[in-house]
Every structure is written in C-alpha cells, then in structure tokens.
C-alpha cells in the first residue's frame, strides 16, 4: 500500500529565496485565477473554466525551482497552476482565454486546455483527459534516447487516473525505466463524483502504480514544502536513471468543477474545513511569518506586486487584437 509521505520540514533548512518564491508563485496562481473569474463575470471569457483555487501548493511545490525550462510538463485542466509555475508569461495565458493574438496559440484561444510553450517545456494538454499519460512516456523516452537528463511531469486528476491509458503509460514507464513523474491531483471529485464512487482501489489511487514496481506515495498536496520534497526526490530518481515515480497529492477544489457549477453535491462542512484549515497559501503564510523569516507587511506588499503584474498582463492580453478569420487556416501543417 502506498506510503503516506511524511518528512519533517523546517523552514530554517531552506534557502529563504526558495521559500519566498514558493509563496509568491502560489499567490500569483491564485490571483491569476481570481482575476480570470472576474473577466468571466465581465463576459470576456467563455464558460469552460475549471478554477484551480485551493490547489496552488501542489503546482508551486512540484515545479518552482525544481524544474528547468528543458524539463517537460503536461499540465491538467484545473486552473493554470502548472503553467504559471513553469513560467509561461501571464499575458500569454490570459491571451489564450481572451482569444487575442497575444495568447500562446496566437488567437486560437486555447482557453484552459491547449496553451503551450515548448520553449519552457510546456508541451500542452489533451482535451480528452488522461490521453496525455501516453504522450508523457513518449516525451520521456525521447529524452532518454537523446541522453539528456530532462524530466517529464504529467499532471492529471483523480478522475483522469481512471482512464484506460493509465495502464499503458505506467507499463511503459516502468518497463523502459523512464524519467517520468506522475502527479495525480486528487481533489476527491471528478465533476460530481466522489473518488469512492468511481475508483476501485486497495486504499489509494497511488496503489494502482505499485503493481508495476513504481515507487509511489500519497502526500498532502496542500503542503507546499512537502510537495517540494517529494517531487525533488522523484526528480533525483529520474535523473539518476532510476525511473518513474507516482505521487498522489491530496487537495480539494474551493470552487465547483466549472464556473457555474452549483457545487451542491459536496458536504459544505468538509469544504469549509479545507478552506479554513488546509488552504495552502494561508498555512504557508503563517509558517513564514511564525518562522520570523518575513513579516505580514512584506507578504502583503508582495501580494500587491503580484496583483500589479497580473493587471499589466491582462492589459497586454486585452489590448492585443483578435485574430483575423483566416487564422483558422494557419498552422495545420509545418
């Protein structure tokens, strides 16, 4: 059965720059998301948005200062958390939502699904969730064949984990000993279904990977430092040629599946508990201040800077033109 990943993490053991960067990334992710929801409310962005609020720790923790531009990710459809942590310019992500040519897809309007930034290792996302599990082993295979030390991380939800592709992917990963890391963002729900209603598991989703002989664990995905540690170990394993790792990171959606989802199928008290006691940003902020490493004022200031950055990004994205109609005839073939 999957190990519950636990480590004593003491803030003193970390480079303060890393800690601040982790915090800043989380704040940026959330602020991005809140502003996007605002844009939706203003009618500027269409309804297919899956907010990532509440799970910022998972993405910041597994990416910030761990992955290089040359490392690959396949992000999931919940928020833009991983794209932001991987450094895709905010104006470009907003551009993809607003459908202006500032977007990474130069006006196709990727929305949440199809942004990409190969220069930063962001290889895109499959609209059919779970399909990218097979792509991920391919990318990892290519790195291994080329003899680089690149790592591939594939993100996917608890729901996506039940796609048939999971099996083919895990088998390849172990068989060819690939530098790939599976991060399952388990927020307990796939749209309206609780994981217990749709998953036949011994105890955890991570258990599915055990039979392949893939090192695996369950981790508190809302503890950004724990996420950092667990991913760091996995990256080292991959770089040392010791193959894949499966990480099930526990978290919870603060909002419904999509904007507009009544979100009435969950236990309100449970949600409130996650918001009050397991918010990754709130908790990490407390830790940072308590450790004496920084002050509330400093963090508030930092938040303001981030907000500023976001607003500028939106401005750039909004000011860029919409594409011409014939944009759709561009880029089908290389």
């Amino acid at each position: 059965m999957a190990e519950i990943y636990q480590r004593d993490v003491n803030l003193e053991d970390y480079d303060p720059d890393l800690l601040i960067e982790l915090y800043k990334t989380m704040v940026k992710i959330r602020s991005f998301d809140e502003n996007l929801i605002r844009l939706m409310q203003e009618g500027k962005v269409s309804g297919f948005y899956h907010s990532g609020i509440g799970s910022e720790g998972l993405s910041a923790g597994s990416i910030t200062k761990l992955l290089r531009d040359e490392d690959y990710i396949y992000y999931n459809h919940r928020g833009c958390n991983q794209k932001i942590a991987k450094g895709v310019p905010l104006s470009k992500i907003y551009g993809d939502f607003l459908g202006t040519i500032e977007g990474t897809t130069k006006g196709l309007g990727a929305g949440i699904v199809h942004s990409a930034d190969p220069s930063r290792g962001v290889l895109g996302q499959a609209g059919t969730i779970g399909s990218q599990l097979s792509l991920a082993v391919g990318s990892a295979f290519a790195s291994q064949m080329k003899g680089t030390d690149q790592v591939t991380i594939v993100y996917f939800g608890d729901g996506a984990a039940s796609r048939e592709t999971m099996h083919g992917s895990l088998n390849w990963a172990k068989l060819y000993n690939l530098p790939v890391i599976y991060i399952c963002e388990n927020n307990e729900y796939a749209i309206s279904c609780h994981v217990s209603e749709t998953h036949g598991v011994k105890a955890h989703i991570a258990d599915w990977s055990e039979g392949y002989g893939i090192p695996n664990c369950v981790v508190d995905g809302n503890d950004v430092l724990l996420m950092h540690e667990v991913t760091k170990e996995a990256i080292e394993r991959a770089k040392k040629g010791r193959g894949p790792t499966f990480i099930e990171a526990q978290t919870f959606r603060h909002r419904g599946h999509f904007e507009g989802d009544p979100y009435d199928y969950i236990d309100k008290a449970v949600l409130q508990d996650w918001k009050d006691n397991r918010d990754p940003i709130k908790n990490f902020k407390k830790q940072l201040i308590n450790s004496g490493l920084t002050t509330e004022d400093h963090l508030i200031n930092l938040g303001k800077q981030v907000e500023e950055e976001i607003l500028q990004a939106i401005e750039i994205a909004e000011n860029a033109p919409m594409p011409e109609r014939n944009r759709i005839y561009e880029g089908l073939f290389a």
């Binding site: 309007g109 929305g111 729901g159």
Partner: protein, 328 residues
C-alpha cells in the same frame, strides 16, 4: 400543442422507456445524481436508482465495452452516454468493431440493443476535442444505426425507437438544440428509422441537412423564399439507414441540391449522400451538388473564431444562389 425543449423531450423518452422495460440500464459520467452535464438524464436516478442508473468512472472504452458485454447476455438494454460525442474516438474500437460487428461476426447469435447517446456540435467555445460531430465516420461502419435528430419531436420519437430497437444505435444530440423548443404531443409516438422528414416543401432546390443545420437551413429557406426561391429542406433523421428514396424524389423534382452539415466537409456525410445522388440521378441534376461543412481544420477554442466553423444561414443562401444561377 404542448411546446417543450429537446432536453425535456429526450428526458421524457428516457423516463418512459425505463419505466416500460426494466432491463434498461443507463450509465455514464455524471448521469446519475448530477443528472448529466447537459441535464438530459435528470430525475432518472431518483426514480430508478442504482444499478439501473449509475455514474461510471472516466473510462469511455470501458463504458461502451461494458455496454456490449451487458447487451449480449440478453439480460440488459444499455443506454450509455459519452459526455461529449468526441469521446467516441476513445471508444472507437468498442463502437466500430464491437457494437457494430459482434453480432454478425459471431454468426448472428446475439442481439445488440444499445443506444449510445453522444452530445455533439460546436457550442460555447468548447474547443477542438469537445465540439466535433463525428457521425459521418460511423457510416463506414457496418452494423451501426446513426440517429441525428433536429427537433424536440424527432428527438423524442427517435430515442424511444432507438431504445426499443434490438440493434446498435448511435444517437447524436447537438448541444445547441437542447434548449430549442418545439411541439411534442402528450401521447406516445415512435418514429421509424430510415424515414427522412421533409421539413419544408419547395420546388426550386433540395437542401439536405442534419442536426442544427436543419434549423439553419430552414432559416435560410425563409429568407430565400422572400427572394423568390423555394427550397425543399429534407432532414434524413437517420444517416444509417439512409432514406435515399425521399431524397431522390426531391432531387428529381428540383434538379438542384445543397447538402449542409456541421461535420467538416471532407469525408463528411455529405460526401456519401452526394455520391449516391449522382449515381442514381445524374441526368436529373441541373447543377453540381454543393456541400457545406465546417472547415477542414480543428475547431478553435475561441468563441470569436468558432462562429466561422458552424455553417450559417448566409453561407447557405450564397451557396443556393450559386446553384440556382447555373443555367438549365
């Protein structure tokens, strides 16, 4: 007559048929408590509960494969849903080779009473993998019946027929039609497969359209009528079986044909229909058969761009004018 939406019409059909036959079993992602992301299956879980109505894991190949396994026992009449019709691509082997061929290839010894519901079409910026209309692919697959309703009335009658049918049915629902209202009688009725419906009569040319494009074509036909051109609008309703008789009768009358569908043009259902028309009625044609489909490129996510994919009334009017302009 009573007016209800296509969503309500479909929901009624499901309620009636599940009531009627207790071997029916409805499943898919979020179809139970949540009532389906398009709310078509609302109230069924409350009425019939599990195992007659249940939510499945996100595993489309397994959903369809399991439906086949249920059907061939003779004990169940499955009504699975794929959340987006695009996901037929994930369950393609299960649909194309198993639903379509299992009975035949095992010597005709089992039945395949499955109705697979597939919401399709460009709607609200859902992007390249949640907006497609894959129905044409299945015309190339023996053993599959393809239903594509365009009105609440047709949707209800055809869904009831589908569920009662002992053979495989792919039931395509255009998402933009769910909110469309139309006449639906209180009394029970069924609509047979392979019977096209002439949605509008006309003498000047024949428009063959499916799903949402029936509505767009009717809109265009009204405008054309103002211009003095009377278009006959035919909705095949089922692409397999395909009612070529009704189509050919109309073509022989008008001599001019436009086919309109939202599927991308190349390899769309219009290709087969055009090929058959020219084969049977070449010398009745006074102008080349034209086809309108969405462009042969993946569908952009942007709402701004997606409008350029879905054929619109003006495009239809322009095409009709070109067809009419061909001298006799």
């Amino acid at each position: 007559m009573r007016q209800i939406t296509m969503r309500e019409a479909l929901n009624e059909a499901l309620h009636e048929e599940m009531e009627r036959d207790e071997s029916t079993v409805l499943f898919g992602e979020d179809v139970a408590k949540f009532g389906g992301i398009n709310k078509v299956t609302q109230g069924l879980y409350e009425k019939y509960g599990a195992p007659r109505v249940y939510d499945t894991p996100i595993a489309e190949a397994t959903i369809v494969g399991a439906a086949v396994g249920m059907a061939i026992t003779g004990h169940a009449r499955p009504i699975p849903e794929l959340q987006f019709g695009d996901f037929a691509s994930i369950a393609f082997d299960e649909i194309f080779n198993k639903m379509g061929k299992w009975r035949f290839m095992h010597g005709g010894q089992m039945e395949m009473p499955i109705t697979l519901r597939l919401p399709v079409g460009i709607a609200g910026g859902a992007g390249p993998e949640h907006s497609q209309s894959p129905q044409a692919l299945f015309m190339h697959g023996p053993g599959l019946q393809i239903v594509v309703p365009s009105t609440p009335y047709d949707a209800k009658g055809l869904l009831k027929t589908s569920i009662r049918d002992n053979n495989a049915v792919l039931f395509f629902e255009h998402k933009l039609l769910y909110d469309m209202k139309g006449d639906v009688p209180e009394e029970e009725y069924l609509i047979p497969f392979g019977k096209a419906d002439i949605k509008r009569e006309g003498e000047d040319l024949t428009i063959i359209a499916t799903a949402l494009q029936v509505q767009t074509s009717l809109e265009a036909a009204e405008e054309l009528s103002n211009q003095g051109v009377e278009a006959e609008v035919i909705d095949p309703r089922t692409l397999a079986p395909l009612d070529m008789e009704t189509i050919l009768n109309s073509v022989r009358k008008t001599g001019r044909v436009l086919i309109v569908h939202e599927e991308s043009k190349t390899g769309g259902s219009g290709a087969e229909i055009a090929a058959q028309i020219q084969e049977e009625a070449l010398f009745d044609l006074e102008a080349p058969i034209k086809r309108i489909g969405s462009p042969d490129v993946p569908i952009a996510q942007s709402i701004h761009l997606e409008q350029f994919y879905r054929p619109n009334a003006q495009q239809i009017i322009n095409a009709v004018n070109e067809i009419i302009d061909v001298p006799v």
